[in-house]
Amino acid sequence: MARIRPQLERDALGLGLRVPHYGSLLEHWPEVGYFEIISENFLGDAAPPRRHLDLLRERYPIVLHGVGLNLLGHEPLSSAYLDRLCRLAEYVDAPFVSDHLCWTGAQGLSHHDLLPVPYVDDLIGVAAERAAFVQRQLGRPFGLENLSTYVEFETSTMPEWQFYSAVVEQAGCWFMLDVNNIYVSSQNHGFSAHSYLDAIDFSRVLQMHIAGHSRETDGTIIDTHDRAVADDVWRLYAEVWQKRGPFPTLLEWDERIPPLPEVLAELQKAVQVRA
């Protein structure tokens, strides 16, 4: 008999699905509100990722999070990429799909990194048109994530949150808000994380990401996803949850990944800080 998969609740706690946890997940089937997969890891023809996904999608809601859409790349969006993305979203019946408000390649090259642009008016219209197109193609909510950045440009004419909000609003798409990224960028560039969060329309927040970061000796913060969430980020998360929650919350852990119980314990801290 087909298993009835639970719905993604508005206050759900989710986990980024990572290879080192496959064995433990398939053995213990822990209580997790949903999983987020990195879209590109499942867009190819490789059989093992799909086999794992087949098992997980029966029991958990699965949302897609991409790193390769290249929304702000000057070249046209890849229709082949988008076609595969749509099929994957359909396959897992994703409640929503997200990617980043950034560029990842240009001149026919793919840089495999999430790269910043100057925040200026004349990018907003095209970015919004593209995001709206992606959402139409997907036939489901599409969210844009804010980046962690390490550089700003003198040609920017507005703060990041104004650029971000304008693209989301014009596109009619959604915020995939990363509170750790807001904290990282606020520290690197000297703006107020609270000002950023105050500018966000939380009725359009699909999900919030939390993750760990590291601090270089020169004080720069790097978005490493290689450790537990920092206390400052938990404080920011708690404040925004009290004022603007609920929203689904997802923990990302991508480097030096500890065993699953440790990651789940970190995720459960969200329940404590919300109280």
Binding site: L43, A47, R50, H74, G105, S110, D218
Partner: protein
């Protein structure tokens, strides 16, 4: 879509992309960014912070680009990495990606061709290990790269149904070529590298690992992916040769070639052995179809 991004974005992304791909300088066993070579227009566009100058802020992206890609290659080529040391290996990755920067959103695509690149790039005889006053047999490094490449390719291959010969196939079986599953590979090794690979993946470390002694005679393996794991099956040398011939030639041509290569004193037992090897290959699911000739 009706709108296009303004022209300046293309120039900006071109400059930023070239900055990202600026190779890291190698000296005294460490890597440093050559941020003095960044495009001046770009560095003037980037704002300095209280802590860092504009070049140093851009350099974070430059360093991140290379280390992300080094890590990806190290994960796909663990044997090769450890025979050369991380530092020496990264130098070859840098050379490969400078000549062939990634073009596809799928990071797997950038790995293709690296083992062939090493054939051109490594010196004949022995390859120096940078910073360790040591060297490693170049042929062993190339063998390691071929094995790493096969392990990676087989694990990530698509799922295809195995070929099951039936009466319908009988009429043209001999004149057809068997199509090997992409989730299979025939490997030949002169050092015990196939067994070393899983150990190396678990043990970690960045320094060059000593190459085990060369084998008395070459060994052959069949690499398969049952379910979600990799498995090695030992092959007799002539069995390995048959599997390779079958991948390239029609069944009858492969059998004829194998017989021709077989020393006279072994020919009497060849038909029986060939039957056994063929049956085993079908049972293991090496073949996924027939290509008529």
């Amino acid at each position: 879509m009706s709108q296009a991004f303004p022209a300046w974005l293309e120039h900006f992304q071109d400059r930023f992309g070239r900055m990202l791909r600026t190779p890291l300088e190698r000296a005294n066993g460490s890597l440093r960014v050559a941020d003095e070579t960044y495009d001046e227009t770009l560095t003037q566009l980037a704002l300095a912070s209280e802590r860092l100058g504009s070049n140093a802020r851009l350099a974070l992206y430059n360093r991140q680009y290379w280390f992300r890609l080094f890590t990806l290659f190290q994960g796909a080529f663990p044997l090769t990495t450890r025979l050369l040391s991380h530092f020496t290996f990264n130098g070859y990755v840098s050379g490969f990606l400078t000549a062939r920067p990634p073009r596809h959103w799928d990071s797997e695509a950038m790995l293709v061709g690296f083992d062939e690149f090493l054939q051109q790039a490594l010196p004949a005889g022995t390859t120096p290990i940078e910073g360790q006053r040591a060297s490693v047999d170049t042929l062993a490094v190339l063998e390691a790269a071929r094995i790493d490449s096969a392990f990676h390719r087989v694990f990530r291959a698509p799922e295809l149904d195995p070929f099951q010969p039936s009466r319908e196939h009988a009429a043209h079986l001999l004149t057809s070529r068997l199509i090997a599953s992409p989730a299979s590979a025939v490997l030949e090794e002169h050092w015990p590298l196939c067994e070393l690979r899983p150990q190396i993946v678990l043990e970690g470390g960045e320094a060059a690992r000593a190459l085990p002694p060369r084998l008395q005679a070459a060994r052959h393996w069949l690499l398969l992916r049952p379910e979600n794991r990799l498995a090695l099956f030992p092959l007799e040398p002539r069995e390995a040769r048959l599997l390779r011939l079958l991948s390239d030639l029609s069944l009858q041509c492969a059998l004829a070639q194998l017989e021709q290569e077989c020393p006279a004193e072994e020919r009497a037992g060849l038909p029986e052995a060939t039957q056994r090897w063929l049956a085993r290959s079908v049972a293991l699911g090496i073949w996924v179809g027939l290509e008529p000739r």
